[in-house]
């Protein structure tokens, strides 16, 4: 066990966990933040995507000991009151079916738009192909990303 002080969504949180514990489980089990989802545990599905210093990162393979001073943003902290343009675009296009993958999709999409405000279809495919949607909402995700890019 070891103590960590983590910057999450603008706040500092303390945890006392095994250093190998993935950030995914620190968030879900220890910090009561279940917005970040478990899908595969091996960086294959993107359900657990968070931002680490603004970059989309798979939290299921990221040990808490590797965080250091980096800032974590989760879907819960992406915006106050659902005001982020990506979240708004997601609602406008009514993207979700079951919704389980969508937190991870939104985190990947918002990181993409931050680094590339006007992505092409190909840019979107490349940035998003690590996020599986079992319900098949890919088209709407792409449309929503384009809408968000405009705003």
């Amino acid at each position: 066990m070891a103590k960590y002080s983590l910057k999450i969504n603008g706040k500092t949180k303390q945890v006392d966990v095994d250093p190998s514990t993935p950030v995914l489980w620190v968030l879900r089990d220890h910090l009561n933040m279940p917005g970040t989802k478990f899908g595969c545990g091996m960086a294959q599905c993107g359900a657990c995507t968070i931002h680490l210093d603004g970059n989309a990162t798979r939290s299921c393979v990221l040990p808490v000991s590797a965080i250091g001073k980096s800032a974590i943003t989760t879907i819960e902290g992406l915006s106050e009151n659902c005001t982020h343009p990506v979240q708004k675009a997601w609602l406008e296009h009514d993207v979700a079916q079951c919704g389980y993958c969508q937190g991870g999709q939104i985190m990947s999409a918002s990181a993409l738009l931050k680094s590339n405000p006007n992505p092409t279809d190909e840019d979107i495919d490349i940035a998003m192909s690590g996020n599986i949607c079992r319900c098949g909402t890919y088209l709407r995700i792409k449309e929503a990303i384009k809408t968000a890019a405009k705003n």
Binding site: S20, Y100, N131
Partner: protein, 751 residues
């Protein structure tokens, strides 16, 4: 349209605590849905449905959604049906998920593309009744005739200038008698139904609110995981948990039996292994790590006898002990298909005319065999469930499609009366049929029963994929007999599977060919199988629709025209009885598909297009897919889809569902396969079980619905099966080669 409940009173009103109206709804489903339930072996009383409407003095309309949500949008579409007839403002509607009440609410089953179908009349009738009671309350309060009161978006008004919001009249309305006969709106007057409404939980989804079973948490809850045998056909021999138990955070490790000896399994009690090891601890990561330190001996399970119980009474099932390997499974299926296997002859399922003679006299016989592998459901949210079992009661909560079927089994294994078991339903991260089977719920209950503390059982992705309840492995051989003029004079399909026969004998082209034969056979197996989005249809539509494509080619006909000609025959002069499709609706879908896809238009002539259409779950769906070669790989670039599912309640969400089905179909047909080697599943996570991804999804999927006023029929499943056939047919156009074995990208599954 008048709607009278002749079975019995099904609406009850009561005053809400704090004022307001509550209207409880329970309803014996109509014959159509009941028929479906009969095929699922359910006790009859479970075909009862229930829900409620609450109108508070603050004018908030709460509508309980009786059925669990797994992405099919019922938490929006079912309340829309109530709101339509209630004539309230959709903005004031709050949707709540019902808890399970087997007595009051029935099966609350999500599956079989049934939710909207089952509730279409009951929920609208309830909405209309509540509206009528509010009108009556206003009439009495104002001293005017009820017939002079009109409603609009939740407001009652009278020509004298009097007006009131529903909430103001709700408490009084609650004291009135529930009307026996109510008038339902004609479809032309719909103002909420047929007008797209956003997902009622959309904001919660995009802000990461806890909605799913995985997110369920109570104080003091422990995390549990299960170690199961590594192969189908194996069982636990012994284990040593000394090291694992000493790992940090671990509370207990023990083996448990899911069902006691002699347990009689009902249809949805399917479980893969009966004895497993539970690892229970404080946190997920600690439990995952401790699991790795278990030292376990497994042994061959051998042949196992199981008692099954259903409507037809009790039967004994012998589960064979062999450790299965995919190549051997394929060989065995081929032996059965050729009738070379002596174990069991194929069973005749339907025969019209004289197929033997037709094939003997044929100028040309076309024969093709199609194979498809097991498929894992791979719901994005792996199986999981919360359980807190105490001496005298139990609470279980999580994602499940059919709480009503699980309650009796829970009662049996926990030895508790059903009314002491509370089942809470969370939003599901996908279902696709997998969550109709309750074994993971019972596993959670068993673990909590032993420890008497609240636990949450979590499957890893590997657990989820390697001890699944899969789509069966299927094969079918189709034969067509053509005469010298290239007329189709005989048709024969023989199909089978491990362990289920896929053939729907009374579906198209049955009814359209004079001499027709369908037969089937089954090979028993220890690999557990169950419903998977449009069970059986998802294979048949692939095989039959690509076979018809080949037959059309041999006949020198356009593939759509060939189907239309056959359907015309089925419509005007059907062969045989029990054809379970409506040729008219089938034709309607193909005609619209032709028009919307610009089929045969000069601008589309050079395109590599495949077409297929299919009927299931009382609906009709067809697709035209346009394929291109991209980086040497076939890629479905755009799709035109047409569906006839009667009235479309929530059009934009319905389009989403069809688009999702198309993407799912392309993914499964190209990549989906769960293969085995000596009983061990060869795929265990997304690195070796390929799922369709963003860059592989089409750029465009145009969805069109046949417009009619037919009561809604299924939607979640029907658009899925024909995708497989359309993809196969487009592959032929793109590559010049016919694809007979799924998944198409590898032609042959491994091992």
């Amino acid at each position: 349209m008048k709607n009278t409940s002749n079975r019995r009173d099904f609406l009850k009103s009561s005053v809400l605590a704090g004022g307001g109206l509550m209207l409880s709804i329970s309803w014996f489903s109509e014959a159509k849905a009941a028929e479906k339930i009969a095929t699922l072996n359910l006790p009859e009383q479970w075909s009862e449905l229930a829900a409620y409407i609450k109108i508070t003095p603050e004018n908030v309309v709460k509508i309980l959604c009786p059925n669990p949500e797994f992405g099919q949008n019922v938490m929006t579409s079912l309340p829309m049906m109530v709101a339509e007839e209630l004539d309230c403002d959709w903005k004031n509607v709050v949707v709540e998920m019902g808890t399970h009440d087997n007595v009051k609410y029935g099966p609350q089953f999500t599956g079989g593309s049934n939710s909207v179908r089952m509730y279409w009349r009951p929920l609208r009738t309830a909405g209309a009744a509540a509206r009528q009671m509010l009108i009556e309350a206003a009439a009495q309060t104002w001293g005017v005739p009820a017939s002079e009161i009109i409603t609009n978006a939740g407001v009652l008004s009278h020509s004298s200038g009097k007006s009131a919001k529903y909430g103001e009249m709700a408490s009084k309305a609650a004291t009135l008698t529930v009307p026996k006969d109510v008038k339902l709106k004609a479809p032309k007057d719909f103002s909420i139904v047929r007008n797209s409404k956003k997902n009622s939980e959309g904001t919660k989804v995009v802000t990461g609110k806890p909605l799913f079973g995985m997110d369920y948490k109570v104080d003091g809850m422990l995390i549990a995981m299960i170690q199961h045998p590594p192969a189908f056909g194996m069982k636990l021999k012994s284990f040593d948990a000394t090291v694992a138990k000493k790992m940090p955070g671990i509370k207990d490790i023990f083996s448990f039996k899911l069902y006691d000896d002699g347990f009689e399994q009902a249809g949805f009690d399917t479980r893969t292994f009966n004895e497993m090891i539970a690892v229970v601890g404080n946190s997920t990561w600690e439990v995952m790590n401790a699991r790795k330190k278990l030292s376990i001996q497994w042994e061959a399970a051998g042949e196992v006898k199981e008692m099954m119980v259903g409507r037809g009474g009790k039967t004994e099932k012998i589960v064979p002990g062999r450790l299965e390997t995919t190549s051997k499974q394929l060989e065995m299926m081929a032996e059965f298909a050729n009738g070379r296997h002596s174990a069991k002859p194929a069973k005749e399922l339907r025969k019209d005319g004289n197929p033997e003679t037709a094939f003997k006299n044929a100028a040309q016989v076309i024969e093709r065999t199609y194979n498809a592998p097991f498929l894992a459901h791979n719901t994005m949210e792996p199986m999981n469930f919360f359980a807190h079992v105490q001496d005298d009661k139990a609470l279980v909560a999580g994602p499940l499609q059919a709480p009503g079927w699980m309650e009796p089994t829970l009662a049996k294994i926990l030895n508790l009366p059903a009314d002491k078991i509370e089942i809470q339903m969370t939003r599901m991260g996908g279902g696709f049929g997998r969550r109709a089977y309750g074994s993971y719920v019972y596993e959670a209950a068993r673990i909590s029963q032993k420890l008497k503390v609240p636990i949450k059982l979590i499957y890893t992705r590997e657990d989820d994929m390697t001890y699944g309840i899969y789509r069966p492995m299927y094969t079918a051989t189709y034969r067509a007999a053509l005469d010298a003029n290239k007329n189709l004079i005989g048709f024969h399909v023989t199909g089978g599977g491990i362990p289920e026969n896929p053939i729907h004998a009374n579906r198209f082209p049955a009814g359209a060919v004079d001499n027709y034969l369908a037969d089937g056979w089954e090979i028993t197996s220890n690999i557990t199988i169950g419903a998977f989005r449009a069970p059986r249809s998802n294979f048949n539509a692939a095989a039959e629709q690509s076979f018809l494509d080949e037959v059309a080619e041999a006949m020198g006909k356009d593939p759509i025209q060939m189907r239309l000609d056959l359907l015309k025959r089925a419509k005007e002069n059907p062969v045989g009885k029990n054809n379970d499709y409506d040729a008219n609706r089938y034709i309607g879908v193909l005609e619209l598909l032709k028009e919307k896809s610009g089929w045969g238009k000069p601008e589309n002539v050079g395109k590599k297009r495949g077409v297929a259409a299919y009927f299931c779950h009382a609906s009709y769906a067809g697709h035209v897919v346009d394929m291109v070669m991209r980086d040497g790989q076939p890629y479905v670039e755009s799709v035109t889809s047409v569906v006839d599912c009667g009235v479309v309640v929530n059009p934009d969400a319905a389009r989403n569902m069809v688009q999702g089905a198309v993407v799912d179909g392309i993914g499964q047909s190209f990549y989906g396969a769960l293969t085995h080697k000596d009983g061990v599943p060869e795929q265990n996570n997304f690195h070796n079980y390929r799922m369709i991804r963003h860059n592989e999804a089409p750029q465009k999927i145009d969805v069109h619905f046949v417009e009619n006023d037919i009561d809604p029929t299924g939607l979640g499943e029907p658009p899925f099966p024909p995708v497989f056939g359309a993809v196969a047919n487009a592959l032929y156009k793109s590559t010049g080669k016919r694809y007979y074995n799924q998944p198409f990208t590898s032609e042959q599954p491994k091992s």
